[in-house]
């Protein structure tokens, strides 16, 4: 029972981190109809910038400044890159962000080299917040939960309660009308892209010390973010939240409990072959849940796309 609670907390941390990435991505998608393949690269940039700033000014300034820089960079990418490619259609847009992801990874290696950076959580948060049955929960994790929740509430508030949010929501559905009303839609697009990438930057800043700051960090997380927003329903903020938490808990529990395929197959009435190591089915029999934990989201995504192409909460086709 205690372990379940611990796993719930761990899964929550993973899920909320994923949410911070997918929130920006889904916002950008619903606005511009483009899946930003480089989204996780902005997350990586957030971590690297924060590392560089923390060397000079400390962790907290990094938390403040790095997302701003990433957001400005993101807005620049929209203004000078994406807007240009937009005229060619959606597929080139997707390919552009894909190329950008490659380029950013190379750029990071060019500047910071290929080794992992010694980016650490601040001293003040390096203690154990509390322990459940011998499992300690570091204070930094509580801090991560705290930040993510604030961001979610803030985002929701801006989108539903402020004038800017209203315009954004209107521009989502009727860009032409909004433009006719005198709003600068390209500017809104640029702003949304900037804010979305800045959110990814925040995720990078707070995840860097935990998950490691190295050139492959974007690649490791890249496709799982897409999976999240596809499962949640493209363009849906609530969907992104639910899907992130679902993935966070699903993978955490699959790794924490050694569920074995052998038990499942036996339960289904199959008998284990005598010489398992000579059998062609040996790999099927020996699968355990930790082995496949990380591909569970992909299985889920493919199933969802087959049976419900607009995702859990989406209103329209992907």
């Amino acid at each position: 029972m205690d372990l379940i609670l611990v796993n719930l907390i761990d899964g929550l941390v993973t899920g909320l981190l994923l949410f911070m990435l997918s929130a920006g991505l889904t916002l950008i998608f619903s606005m511009m109809g483009v899946l930003n393949f480089a989204h996780a690269s902005f997350y990586m940039l957030g971590a690297y910038f924060a590392f560089q700033i923390s060397m000079a000014l400390g962790f907290w300034m990094g938390l403040l400044l790095a997302p701003l820089i990433v957001g400005v960079l993101g807005a620049g990418v929209e203004r000078y890159g994406l807007r240009r490619v937009h005229q060619y259609g959606h597929v080139p847009e997707l390919i552009f962000t894909f190329g950008l992801a490659l380029l950013i990874e190379e750029l990071v290696q060019f500047i910071w080299g290929k080794n992992q950076m010694p980016y650490e959580a601040p001293e003040i948060l390096q203690f154990t917040a509390f322990a459940i049955a011998g499992n300690s929960i570091p204070a930094y994790k509580i801090f991560m939960i705290f930040i993510s929740v604030i961001i979610f509430i803030g985002l929701l508030w801006v989108l539903t309660r402020t004038r800017v949010g209203m315009i954004i929501q209107a521009a989502l559905t009727y860009p032409k009308t909004v433009e006719a009303l005198g709003h600068n839609v390209p500017l809104i697009f640029m702003g949304v892209f900037g804010v979305g990438t800045a959110l990814a930057g925040v995720a990078g800043v707070i995840a860097g010390p935990v998950l490691g700051t190295f050139p492959g960090m974007a690649f490791v997380l890249g496709s799982i973010v897409f999976v999240t927003i596809v499962i949640g329903g493209l363009g849906s903020l609530w969907g992104a939240l639910v899907a992130s938490l679902l993935i966070g808990w699903m993978t955490t529990f699959a790794k924490s409990y050694n569920l074995r395929m052998e038990d499942l197959l036996t339960w289904l009435g199959f008998t284990k072959p005598e010489n398992i190591w000579d059998s062609a089915w040996r790999d099927l029999w020996t699968i355990t849940s930790p082995q496949i934990a990380d591909i569970l989201p992909y299985i889920l995504m493919v199933l969802i796309l087959i049976f419900r192409p607009y995702g859990l909460f989406g209103k329209r086709d992907a």
Binding site: L3, V6, N7, D10, V13, T14, Q109, G113, K114, N115, Q116, M117, P118, T128, A131, G134, N135, S136, P138, V210, L211, G212, F214, P215, G216, V220, L221, T251, T252, F253, K255, S256, N258, T288, P290, Q291, A293, D294, I295
Partner: protein
């Protein structure tokens, strides 16, 4: 149009090909390892160690065969077997006869087979494979061949040494084995189970599991399980980001016992562990860095650090590769025909720069050497890693580890 394109290709190929020339007075060693991509850090550091060793240990002493110099030629294999085979072909065309590779047993498996086939199919330009780091036991067992020489202790030998230490520690009654889900991780787990069963049947193996390699973002669930199993020790073959992630995660979540491992040093890992790893990390490796085995070793390390302040001598065996190759070439009297060189290498005994003597076992071309158990610590470190103030210090030594270990190698000699 097609024609003009192909002409362009022709020009490009000619350019690239024309730069391949063979100088008579240098003996080239192809270094085929990742120099770009996620593992480039390790590859580049290895390259520096090779270049430094060739310069210091051979060229500055007048070369071999009365003045022939060693030259290390770097090839980027992007840690891909396919790219390695292409680069192998390019290297052979450049007239290179010695191939050094180490990172990833997958690449080593591909290379050793390709070299075996090449040497069979092209007897006029055979090459030798100097494997300095790939430790999959199969390379000197089922998959052994005459052209392959391994200078690192293989995974089984290292596990033998590790379990010696575990067996002596009566405080350990439970161990947890965790590793990456691929051939090396599985080999480590199998060897650990076997040796512990032989040496301390009373030790309970409370966990034995594999996780996907390079894909785990957060090791917390695994460390929860390890904590729940109340183990006294952890054994893992993890390397790179997987080692760092696992190690940091278990330590952060309250684990205080020892972690027995292979690759938890240098390439940024020592710096990242820093204070947290103190007292827990135990590494098995050849080559004694701290305390320095001799003045010569200390001087060698110092001059290396002077040249590469950000580098580490993390693969001490590289000096053995260079020195033994130089000796074998002298003995064979030729560097172009690799068969006598290979025969000279077989059975060669050598005094390592890092202390102790080593011997290239004839039967399977596995170098038999002293294997040390190091502790990750900040105390008493002469040469730290990653300029972090932390380094590894020898705690136990197994002399000439696994000298009589069995092998399934059935070598065909030319």
């Amino acid at each position: 149009m097609r024609k003009s394109i192909t002409l362009g290709v022709a020009a490009a190929l000619t350019l690239s090909v024309s730069s391949f020339s063979v100088a008579a007075d240098t003996i080239k060693i192809a270094f085929i390892d990742p120099l770009s991509g996620p593992f480039a850090g390790t590859g580049v550091n290895g390259l520096h160690q090779y270049e430094f060793a060739a310069e210091e240990l051979v060229n500055k002493k007048g070369g071999v065969l009365g003045g022939d110099m060693f030259e290390i030629v770097a090839f980027d294999n992007k840690i891909s077997p396919k790219e390695s085979l292409i680069q192998l072909q390019v290297a052979i065309d450049q007239g290179i006869r010695y191939i050094a590779q180490g990172n990833s047993s997958g690449v080593a498996n591909a290379l050793t087979e390709a070299i075996d086939k090449h040497n069979r199919r092209n007897p006029e330009d055979r090459v030798l494979f100097l494997n300095y780091s790939a430790v999959d036991p199969a390379l000197t067992n089922d998959k052994c061949n005459f052209w392959h020489f391994r200078f690192d202790a293989n995974a089984d030998i290292k596990m033998d040494a590790l379990t010696d230490v575990i067996a002596e520690d009566t405080g350990i009654t439970k161990v947890y084995i965790i590793g990456q889900d691929y051939s090396f991780g599985k080999a480590v787990a199998a060897a650990a189970v076997r040796f512990i069963g032989e040496k301390r049947p009373d030790i309970e193996i409370v966990g034995n599991e594999l996780h996907p390699i390079g894909k785990v973002k957060d090791f917390t669930p695994y460390s929860r399980k390890i904590m729940a199993a109340e183990t006294d020790a952890i054994i893992t073959g993890n390397w790179g980001a997987d080692m760092l992630g696992l190690g940091k995660s278990v330590l952060e979540n309250g684990y205080e016992g020892p972690i027995f491992t292979y690759y938890a040093a240098a390439d940024g890992i020592t710096a990242a562990f820093g204070e947290t790893g103190e007292g827990s990390l135990r590494l098995v490796a050849e080559g004694q860095i701290n305390p320095p085995a001799s003045d010569a070793a200390a001087a060698y390390y110092e001059s290396f650090k002077a040249k590469y302040p950000d580098g580490n001598i993390s693969q001490a065996r590289i000096t053995n590769v260079i020195e033994m190759l130089a000796k074998a070439i002298e003995e064979a009297g030729t560097a172009t025909d690799v068969v006598p060189v290979a025969y000279a290498l077989e059975g060669m005994e050598h005094e390592s720069l890092w202390g102790g003597s080593v011997k290239m076992r004839e039967v399977d071309h596995q170098l038999i050497q002293d294997v040390h158990i190091h502790a990750h610590t900040g105390d008493d470190i002469t040469f730290d890693y990653d300029n972090s103030g932390f380094g590894i210090k020898v705690e136990n030594t197994v002399t000439m580890a696994a000298m009589d270990s069995p092998t399934t190698c059935n070598m065909r000699r030319p």
